[in-house]
């Protein structure tokens, strides 16, 4: 029993047409963002084409989230311009933007006890009053099936675990059915099966002609699933290109300030590992073959006498 009232003077929104693969759906020209004195993004030039998955990678504080927020319009630009579908981002109204790009933030908290089904259905709201509205049920159902949240449909969103929430929120973003998908660390709380599932769905969307921009922390996942990667460092784009071009040992070691090895995987793709020392294991805390020097060091640090550590 729902009472829905449509405003009779509702404005007509420009509905998007599906882009062709290779179209520039999103262009950033010399984008800069400053908050107070701090320069968070500087001179970022990037174009995103329909049909590709572009991963944004970089160390903490490099400006990945700010870049995504600048694209979504949540952070005002101090210079440069962002173009969506050939027109400045500011020339679209909120609903027209929502028809063109969907956004998944790192964590989505819901204030009231809405069910997962309600939440996913909210993704359809930009299309209210358009012809697309006819397909609501079908789109919601397929989005929920794809992300495996169907069994959770009747549960309250706030009662879900972190990973389940992540999937439900992703499902809502898919239901929005926008040609640009912007994802901010979508896999953070998910287990490995669902991390892979999410990236696979991202690829399927790109294959269907959408553009997917995703912030990823796991470099190997970025290498495995994306067509191009953009490496950010101190608010600037350090490199853009295919994972093989960008993810070199010297480049990554320099940007992350940590020795990183990049090896070709026998099955194709890259193995990316930090260089780690071989450790001596202390199984159940027993220090077999504990070097004398280290023992003395530990004793000094802990303020214990040398005899206390055995």
């Amino acid at each position: 029993m729902s009472i829905a009232i449509q405003l009779p003077w509702n404005t007509v929104h420009r509905t998007p047409t599906m882009p062709n693969p290779g179209d520039r759906v999103l262009e950033l020209v010399d984008v800069g963002v400053s908050i107070g004195e701090r320069r968070i993004l500087d001179g970022v030039n990037l174009d995103v084409r329909a049909g590709e998955v572009l991963s944004l990678v970089g160390p903490n504080g490099a400006g990945k989230s700010t870049l995504l927020n600048a694209i979504t319009g949540d952070v005002p630009l101090s210079d440069g311009e962002i173009t969506l579908f050939g027109l400045p981002a500011l020339s679209w109204d909120a609903t027209e933007l929502a028809m063109r790009r969907s956004v998944l933030l790192q964590s989505v908290d819901v204030t009231f006890p809405f069910s997962v089904d309600d939440i996913v259905r909210m993704g359809r709201s930009p299309w209210e009053g358009t012809a697309e509205e006819m397909d609501d049920d079908m789109i919601v159902e397929s989005a929920m099936t794809m992300t495996e949240v169907m069994p959770l449909a009747d549960r309250v969103y706030t009662s879900l675990s972190g990973g389940e929430r992540g999937r439900a929120a992703f499902s809502r973003v898919l239901a929005q059915a926008a040609p640009i998908l912007l994802l901010d660390e979508p896999t953070a709380a998910m287990d490995i099966k669902h991390q892979e599932m999410l990236m696979r769905i991202g690829r399927e969307y790109a294959a269907a002609g959408c553009a997917v921009v995703v912030i990823v922390h796991a470099l190997d996942a970025a290498a495995a699933w994306s067509d191009r990667v953009a490496l950010l460092e101190h608010g600037r784009l350090r490199a853009v290109g295919t994972p093989e071009e960008v993810f070199t040992s010297t480049m990554l070691s320099d940007v992350y300030q940590c020795p990183i090895e990049v090896l070709p995987h026998p099955g194709g793709g890259l193995i990316i590992l930090p260089k780690r020392p071989a450790i001596t294991r202390h199984v159940y805390g027993e220090h077999h073959g504990f070097p004398d020097a280290a023992r003395a060091n530990l004793a000094r640090l802990s303020g214990l006498s040398g005899q206390g550590v055995s």
């Binding site: 029993m1 729902s2 009472i3 829905a4 009232i5 405003l7 979504t72 319009g73 949540d74 109204d93 909120a94 609903t95 027209e96 933007l97 929502a98 028809m99 790009r101 969907s102 956004v103 933030l105 989505v108 908290d109 819901v110 204030t111 009231f112 006890p113 809405f114 069910s115 997962v116 089904d117 309600d118 939440i119 909210m122 993704g123 709201s125 930009p126 209210e128 069994p151 449909a153 009747d154 549960r155 309250v156 969103y157 706030t158 009662s159 929005q176």
Partner: protein, 386 residues
């Protein structure tokens, strides 16, 4: 070959077993969720039943409240009197002398006023909670009630009569509206408002209003002081059709107006940014909601005085029963608020003979413990709010 077969047979069995366990688990979860009443998607029947109960309750309370009091008019005569008024002469009207006058000049205006004010307060509470994304928000948070009290007490103290008997209500209405809008504008910066800033600005403005009310109470002569104090306790005593005619249109406009925002309020519960990403103009929604709340509450308190806890408890309770969707929550809150105030006003009139208890006192007296119970209940069920 044989090795491969023996290895794969148990594996597929394991997989099938795992699937069965999974399905059983999901069924169990779904069943439990419904049992506990935490299944977010309420049954269609539950919602319809709630609306039916509220409407029937309201009708019954109207007739009960009209029939009982110092002058007792039997139920059938009350119904007869209403039917006579609209031209159906099926049942006889009141048989006692002045029965009809008591009904139409005293009781019905009072009941209708309670219904209108209750509906306005209930809806305003639901909108406030939606906009603030906080189940603890109520119209008082942004200073509507205290602002209105400042206007009312100033006019009582000064003895202004430029609008006759409507001077105090008018000033209460105007000050409530002005206070809310100034809280909103003070909290606004660079075209944006943050919820926490808004709430804290409300705290500051409420404090100033409290000081002004104290000063007016202090400065007023005994007679005016009584009036100021009683205005703040709220009462429907002495409601007239004229007053109803002023308050009702504004409340009806407000209640219908917020219904247009219902879906956007749903989206806002995802948070400000996700709502914007779904095409909601959050700032405009906030401004319009605050305007609607200010209009509803200011006109509700103008004649009746301050009645607290309706805007807090009614939407909260109904959200537990019919779920958080604003498209159903807003009309249900209107009905629930109306029902609650009709009952409260009936109690205020009849609990103590020859005395009219302040209705604000009654709603707080019942609302406080009830709210505490709700709080404990939702805590034990879902580990806190939401």
């Amino acid at each position: 070959m044989r090795n491969g077969n023996t290895a794969s047979a148990p594996r597929s069995e394991i997989r099938a077993a795992a699937e069965r366990v999974d399905q059983a688990r999901n069924r169990h979860i779904a069943a439990n969720a419904t049992d506990l009443g935490i299944a977010g998607k309420p049954h269609m029947g539950k919602t319809a039943l709630t609306f039916a109960v509220l409407v029937v309750g309201l009708l019954v309370m109207t007739i009960v409240s009209a029939s009982l009091g110092q002058l007792i008019i039997p139920f059938d005569q009350v119904i007869g009197s209403i039917l006579n008024k609209i031209g159906i002469h099926w049942l006889a009207g009141p048989s006692r002398a002045f029965g009809n006058e008591a009904l139409w000049n005293v009781r019905f205006p009072r009941i209708v006023m309670a219904i209108v004010v209750g509906a306005a307060l209930g809806v305003a509470g639901a909108v406030m909670q939606g906009v603030f994304g906080n189940p603890l928000a109520e119209p008082g948070t942004v200073g509507v009630s205290s602002g209105a009290a400042v206007g009312a007490s100033a006019s009582i103290l000064m003895g202004w009569t430029f609008l006759g008997s409507f001077t105090t209500p008018f000033l209460a209405f105007a000050c409530g509206l002005i206070t809310t809008m100034s809280v909103y504008l003070l909290a606004r910066r660079g075209g944006r408002t943050e919820i926490v800033t808004l709430i804290l600005t409300g705290v500051a403005v409420n404090a100033i209003a409290g000081a002004l009310i104290s000063f007016f109470t202090f400065a007023a002569p005994t007679n005016a002081r009584d009036q100021i104090v009683f205005w703040q306790m709220g009462s429907f005593n002495g409601s007239r059709w004229q007053q109803v005619a002023l308050v009702a249109p504004m409340c009806v406009i407000g209640i219908i107006g917020v219904q247009f925002m219902a879906h956007q309020l749903d989206l806002l519960s995802l948070g400000e940014k996700p709502a914007r990403h779904l095409g909601v103009n959050v700032e405009r929604l906030r401004f319009l909601s605050m305007l609607a709340v200010a209009l509803l509450v200011s006109s509700a308190v103008a004649f009746a005085g301050i009645i607290s806890f309706v805007g807090l408890v009614v939407p909260h309770l109904l959200r537990m029963i019919i779920g958080p969707g604003h498209r159903t929550l807003l009309p249900a809150s209107a009905l629930g608020g109306a029902l609650l105030l009709t009952i409260a006003d009936f109690a205020a009139r009849t609990t103590i003979q020859f005395a009219d208890l302040p209705i604000g006192m009654l709603t707080s007296l019942v609302g406080g413990p009830f709210f505490f119970w709700l709080l404990r209940r939702s805590r034990s069920k879902s580990g806190g709010w939401a």
